[in-house]
Amino acid sequence: MKNNKKHNAFENLLILEIGDLIAAPYCTKLFADYGAQVIKLEPPEGDYSRKSGPFPNNIPHQETSGLYLNLNTNKKSMTLNLQNLDGRNLFIKLITKANLLVIDKPPYFLESIGLSFEKLQILNPNLIITSITPFGDHGPYAEYETNDFISFALTNRMSPHGIIDGPPLQYGSDVILYQIATTAAAASMAAIFSISNKQKGDIIKISGMEAQIGNVDTRTVFEQYTQRLLQRGSIDLRYPTGCYPCLDGYIVFGSGEDRFFRRLCHAIGQSNLLDDPEWAIPANRESRQEEFEIYLLEWLLERPKQNVFEICQEYGVMCTPINQISDLFVDPQLKYRKYFVKSNHEIVGDITYTGAPFNLSKLKWRINHSAPRLSQHTKEICTKLINISIKELVLLKSNGTI
């Protein structure tokens, strides 16, 4: 481990991560990229994201999965077989050094190897444990089989999402897992802060289902207030809201509420409409959507999306272009802010990564080193952090513990 003289508040944090793919890795990435030490405890075959790609030129390789590389920057990798006794003992040694354990495994996973959360906290009373499960650790669905798609179906967000008369539709695959990861990170950070305020460790349980239903962009409260279910494909705000075509693509309007409608009239050169009470009074214009859309489309279809975006925004209209992923790489705002970050990887070469999720003026976000190779730091962690001798290390290797 690094033993620099000068530490910031985050370099002193030691975080252990157990869990595949996205939820646990993205949660701990949010700490690693701000300077915390994160040790990824991988099973001998590695994090599943190593197999899932995307890969450069579509050639699978354990060390080049784009998903893995972006979600595991700045971390250290140690392989550990928790199913054997020596592996458990190593894990216990790590636990005594750690501030936070983020674990995305079924509720019974640690108990099945004799290590309940309560036991871990006896070993390290200041330890914070953040446990991520799809449905929580009790209740009829607790042991249900799931993945991003099914977990999304079992919230109330899929039912009202889709096109008119179409089936319920998922969001972009995986976004639910990132939301769960960020929920876990926020809760973990609150607990870390409270330890700096002389409180003890804690156990935090995140149910993926509840992390979705309890946040915004859900409709349970709306339905009760209005006795009305949101219908797929419906637009729930005043026109113009939603997507319209323009010369080279599409744009989205956020809201047609009065002040935005007025600004839009100015933006598209139809200020004169507002002299007419039929348009000036919100209630009167409700029934004239089609007529307005003729004016609007005439203006939109002459202009490219970026142009529409910039003109509308100059007038304070909530308008945005519908971008393809490639548009983000040339977007003037992201370029100006140097959002995407290039860094060299020993096998892949230069890689462009996603940037900081937020910028703190006194805490740097940066990619210090690429995601680790499988087991890259096992020896370093064993010898330097938990004082395993080289002799023991050879033994642990030979019996398949590490």
Partner: protein
């Protein structure tokens, strides 16, 4: 141990945000024990508190009282503003501003969600507020951040969804993006990142004694959630395919109709083992019993056909019973539940996930509880959303020590108010 140990106890936060991302993030910090003072615009109505009941699309709970005070009875507002105290004040007046400065002196954090430049124009930028509270943690969370050509641009979550590429990802194949709905998912994400960034800065303040300002671009905070697609473009110059409910390696995956109107089940076959398990449940005559389908590649190739056959099997069945049957056989499946069914869901009921609260204007409704459980919090906080201007007097008197006469004067001069009637 009966005492609850709220991680953010003794932290006071001033909230100057509207709609969902900021308000929800602050509710979450209220859940964590912070004292949240929500400053609401006056006399301009906050976006989620329109004066006219015509704007019922925001989820107005219609009753006698809400006719008089509609701004207190919108779901869009009340679902995202628990655990706060409200102060409705005109910050454009010098007395309003002075009140804010006094509040900043006794607060730890200030969060604002205006487009960049608005705080400067109001004369309440970080540089100025810092003079009143040197170790202030301040977060600005405009759509695209504090700097750059879009810094003054305005948006809702739906716009950021479009901007980030997520709108197109949500658009099924052979469908125009104009048919795709607006969603507000990025608000949920920004709310969480707000909590994370504030707790990070507070932790740093505990360790180093310094405050700071945070530039939280709601666009940039969401883009990493599309990592797979960003990396596919970054490494291979490929934009994502629009795949609807499908998956690049799992097949079949989709939603299938069940008994009744608009009843669906989601099924996701991860591998050949899941497929084998599924086939065991399906009657022998079904064309799904085809040796070709025993490997994933041919299932991907024949996905359309398999969907039709599979639907023939699901359509006669009850979605909940079918989900239970599939789950009993270790096959990932989930009944699609609408908003109402979620509130009545047996799993959530067994976990006591919803809480009934009486709101004086909106009435009695069930609200989802906290999105996390802390062992050290035995009794989670859940205080209904504040009424407009509800805590004006309490805040001014108890926190700032302003006299009754002083407060009366502020009402009279229309610096504070609790009604949005014109």
């Amino acid at each position: 141990m009966v005492n609850d140990n709220f991680p953010l106890k003794n932290i006071r936060i001033i909230e100057l945000t509207e709609v969902w991302a900021g308000p929800m993030g602050n509710s979450l910090m209220g859940d964590l024990g912070a004292d949240i003072i929500k400053i609401e615009s006056f006399p301009r109505a906050p976006i989620t508190r329109p004066q006219d009941t015509i704007a019922a699309r925001r989820g107005l709970s219609e009753n006698k009282l809400s006719k008089l005070r509609p701004w207190d009875a919108y779901a869009s507002h009340n679902m995202a503003n628990r655990n706060k105290k409200g102060l409705s004040i005109d910050l454009k007046t010098s007395k309003g501003k002075k009140t804010l400065f006094e509040l900043v002196k006794c607060s730890d954090v200030l969060i604002e969600g205006y487009s960049a430049g608005t705080m400067e124009n109001l004369g309440i930028s970080y540089e100025i507020l810092k003079k009143h509270r040197p170790d202030l943690v301040m977060v600005s969370m405009p759509g695209w951040g504090l700097e750059g050509p879009y810094k003054k641009y305005v948006t809702l979550g739906s716009g950021l969804d479009a901007y980030s590429g997520h709108w197109l990802l949500r658009t099924p194949p052979n469908t125009e993006p104009t048919e795709t709905m607006s969603i507000y998912h990025t608000d949920a994400v920004a709310a969480l990142n707000l909590v994370l960034s504030v707790c990070m800065a507070l932790h740093q303040r505990s360790n180093e004694g310094v405050g700071q300002n945070i530039d939280l671009s709601q666009a940039e905070t969401f883009i990493p959630h599309l990592t797979k697609h960003i990396m596919e473009y970054s490494m291979n110059n490929l934009n994502p395919l629009q795949i609807g409910n499908r998956h690049f390696s799992r097949a079949p995956q989709g939603v299938y109709t069940c008994q009744g109107t608009n009843q669906w089940i989601a099924i996701s076959i991860r591998n050949d083992k899941d497929w084998f398990q599924l086939c065991n449940l399906i009657d022998k005559e079904s064309p799904l019993h085809n040796p070709d389908y025993e490997n994933a590649l041919s299932r991907i190739k024949d996905h359309d056909k398999i969907d039709i056959f599979l639907n023939q099997w699901t359509q006669e069945q009850n979605k909940i019973e079918l989900m239970k049957l599939l789950q009993f056989n270790k096959i990932p499946a989930g009944a699609i539940m609408n908003e109402k069914e979620i509130v009545d869901n047996e799993h959530l009921i067994s976990r006591n996930y919803f809480i009934k609260l009486d709101h004086p204007i909106a009435g009695i409704h069930s609200y989802p509880k906290n999105i996390w459980e802390f062992l050290s919090i035995k009794n989670p906080l859940f205080k209904r959303a504040n009424l407009y201007g509800e805590h004006n007097e309490e805040i001014l008197r108890e926190l700032l020590g302003i006299t009754r006469t002083g407060i009366k004067r502020m009402w009279k001069e229309k610096i504070i108010g609790d009604s949005l009637d014109n």
